[in-house]
Every structure is written in structure tokens, then in C-alpha cells.
């Protein structure tokens, strides 16, 4: 196994993976697994779901490897596949579009310092608590940087729905952050 593992460039690995070399596929997987797990976790409710998405995503990566023409970064390409795989997962497993119309929530002011103080893990937990539809739109817009038009196409909703779900998602997140903040500083003192 002292097989020059660390000397493989991504390009070489990609070439070998295209040829269907299983060992190279494994190396490529190991190269990106943790990063892509981070992506999938944002779209999932828990680790189990995230791992399902990751698995499906990588299978698709290897099957579509031939389509990668080297335009743009390979990692970006893999990441897009992960995002699509995650959305696909909800298409299959959930009726994600059933947006529960909650009673009007007040726009809540959030202390920027409080948000900045939250660690990545805490933010992740907050996102995972969102309902799938909100979570998806928030992820696509705020983190992946897609436009509402693109989101509408990817998820299969209208642009208007994308906008309203985004603002709902933000409101819920702020509300949750407010609660944590309250616990941390308000009561525990």
C-alpha cells in the first residue's frame, strides 16, 4: 500500500477512475469524503440521512465520471453532484414541499455577535432542525450561492416560493439563535 498514494494528483486519479479502476475510485473517495459529508449534512436531518446522500452522490460521481471534461474544478463538479443527490434524496423520501404554514412570526432581531459566536456545529444543528424545504432553499441560496431562478429550476418550485421559503428559513433560524442566546446569557447569567 506504499503505492505512492499521496503523489497522485487529482487529475491522474480522475483518469484512472474513468477507466474504472476500483483502487483509484477508493482513493478519490477518501480524498473528498469528509468534505462532501459536510455538504450532505447541511441537507440532511441527521448523519444517517447524510450518509445515504453521500453514498448515492458518489455512485453517481463514478458513473458520470466520463462526463467530466475538466472544465472548472473537479471538486466543484463533485460538490454539485452531492447537492443534486441530496435534493434527489428528498424528492424520493419526503414530501418536502408540504410547507407548513405557521402562524405569522415576527421578524426577530438577532445580535450579530451572538451569531458570530456560534460554532459551525451549532449552526449545523440549527440548519438540520429546519424542515427539508426551508433547509434546502437556505442551503442553496445562502451557502451554495444559487440564485432564486436556479433554485426554482433545481428544486422544482416557483421563484416566488423559493424567495418566501428563504425568508421563512432565515426567520426560524434567527428565532432559534435568539433562544440559544437567551439560554446562554439571559438565564444562566
Amino acid at each position: 500500500m506504499m503505492f505512492l498514494e499521496h503523489n497522485y494528483t487529482i487529475d491522474e486519479l480522475v483518469k484512472r477512475c474513468k477507466a474504472g479502476e476500483r483502487k483509484s475510485q477508493e482513493l478519490l473517495y477518501k480524498q473528498f469524503a469528509s468534505k462532501m459529508m459536510g455538504v450532505c449534512l447541511r441537507y440532511a436531518t441527521d448523519r444517517m440521512e447524510a450518509e445515504d446522500m453521500l453514498q448515492n452522490g458518489f455512485i453517481r460521481v463514478f458513473q458520470k465520471m466520463g462526463d467530466f471534461r475538466g472544465e472548472g474544478s473537479f471538486e466543484g463538479w463533485v460538490r454539485r453532484i452531492m447537492v443534486h443527490s441530496s435534493i434527489e434524496y428528498y424528492r424520493k423520501h419526503h414530501k418536502m414541499m408540504q410547507v407548513v404554514e405557521e402562524s405569522e412570526m415576527d421578524e426577530q432581531g438577532v445580535n450579530p455577535v451572538a451569531v458570530a459566536n456560534l460554532g459551525a456545529k451549532e449552526l449545523m444543528v440549527l440548519i438540520q432542525k429546519l424542515s427539508p424545504g426551508y433547509r434546502m432553499v437556505f442551503n442553496l441560496y445562502a451557502i451554495e450561492g444559487y440564485s432564486h431562478k436556479e433554485i426554482a429550476a433545481i428544486v422544482g418550485i416557483t421563484e416566488g416560493a423559493s424567495k418566501s421559503q428563504l425568508s421563512r428559513a432565515r426567520t426560524i433560524l434567527k428565532e432559534q439563535i435568539g433562544k440559544t442566546e437567551g439560554k446562554k446569557y439571559g438565564y444562566a447569567g
Binding site: V110, P112, M124, A142
Partner: protein, 265 residues
Amino acid sequence: MDMQDREFDDVFRNKLDGFEAEPSAKVWMGIDATLDEKSRKKAIMPWLSIAASIIVLLSAGILFIPKKTSTQHHGEGIVKTPPVHAIAQPKQETPIKEPALQTQIAVVPATAKPVIRHTKKIEKTVAPAEKPTEQIAKTEIAKPVEQPILAAVSQKQQQVTQPVVPDSGTPLTVKETANYNMPDLQTKPALIARQQTPVTKPTATASPKKRGIHNFGDLVNLVVAKVDKRKDKALQFTDDDEDESTLTAVNIGPVKIKREEKVER
């Protein structure tokens, strides 16, 4: 101290964009297994077609390569049954390197009307098939071989049999009587007796005339055409006026016989 949406989003992006977490080992195992499964499915297809080709070739071989054993058995068959077309029923096991091996094909005229009925039966089952493939040919042709009416006689050169004309009243002709000795087992009538040596390689190629398949003879022609690319096929059937197939040409190695006209029956 409110926060703009953009700033809010940025906090999430900055903290979560590079978020990493080690997935459990079963994820790779699942990927590995799925890729295996898909590649296995892909790999099976070519093997299936290879297997199909082998079956087709084998069945063709069974039909057209002379058989060296079972001489006695089939000889008796001829004695007992009403005379009919007898087709050599060769087996694959026949070693090609043994050129001494010879097969006799005897076409024996029927006193009543035996073959005809038999072939018609086959006709009916075969004809409806829209695309008669070699596989069909294999199964359909196999049937008559099992019947006692069809007899095959294969022998070593030394014990070559002679067609005799014992039946009274039946007009018989022996068309070809190359080098044979007096037989010790065959005693019943034979119209045509042929001595053949096993075919090894086709020499010339000629595309056969394309036509539909209407009867057993056509079916045999089809299969022969697939296997034997020579101008003169190992076996050739022609339709006669009664729309029955007759064996009109035999070409196995050095022995070539062609019946130009419809002669005696």
C-alpha cells in the same frame, strides 16, 4: 442591533462551507458493492451472447458433423421402420483428425407416404415463427432426429454398407456407389447412399439465394447456409411440385452429389 440578511447568510457560509465530517466506513462499502453490481450486470450481457452462440454452433455441429458410433443401432432402425429420408445425425465428439470416418446418408423411398406426414408436422410448428432463428432451427430439427423414421448410418470405411434393393415393386436406384464392400448389416432398401468424409473447412463462399422458410427443407437449408458457406452446401433441399422438400444435393468433402432433375422417387 439588527443584522442584514446578507450578513446573516455570510456567517453561515463562512462557518459551514468548509465543514468536514468523517463518514462511517459503511458508506464506501455501499458504494463499492453498488459499483460491483452494476459492472457485473454489464459483464453478464456479452457472456450471455457468447453462450448463445456456442449453443447455436453446437447444435449445428451435431447436425452436420458425421458421427462414428451408434452405427448398429441406427442400422436396425432402418430395417424396422418404413423407409424415409435418412439424415446423417452426427455428433460433435467426432474427431476431425480421423479422416477415415465416413458417413452414409441414405435416402430411402417410401412405400406408403411416411416422411411427408412427418415433415408437414414440423412445418406447422416452424412456419408461424416470424423470425426463424438458428435457435429455433436447432430445437425443431432436433425432433426428427429422435424419431425412429430418421436413421443415420455412420461407419468406418472398412465396414461401409451397400444399399441393396430388396423390396419388391419399389423402384429403387443406387446413385452412387463409390468404394464400398459388401455390407454386413444393412439389408433394406436405400435409394441413395453416400459416402462422405468429415468436412473441415469451407473452401469457397457464395451467398445463397434468399427465400422464405416454408417447410422443413427450407429450415435445414437456412441452417446449412449459416454453417456451410460453400457454393455447394453439405445438404441442400429443394421444393418439388408437391411442395415437399427433397434432398437434392450433398457435398461433404470429396463427395459431391447433385440431383439436377427430379428423378425417380
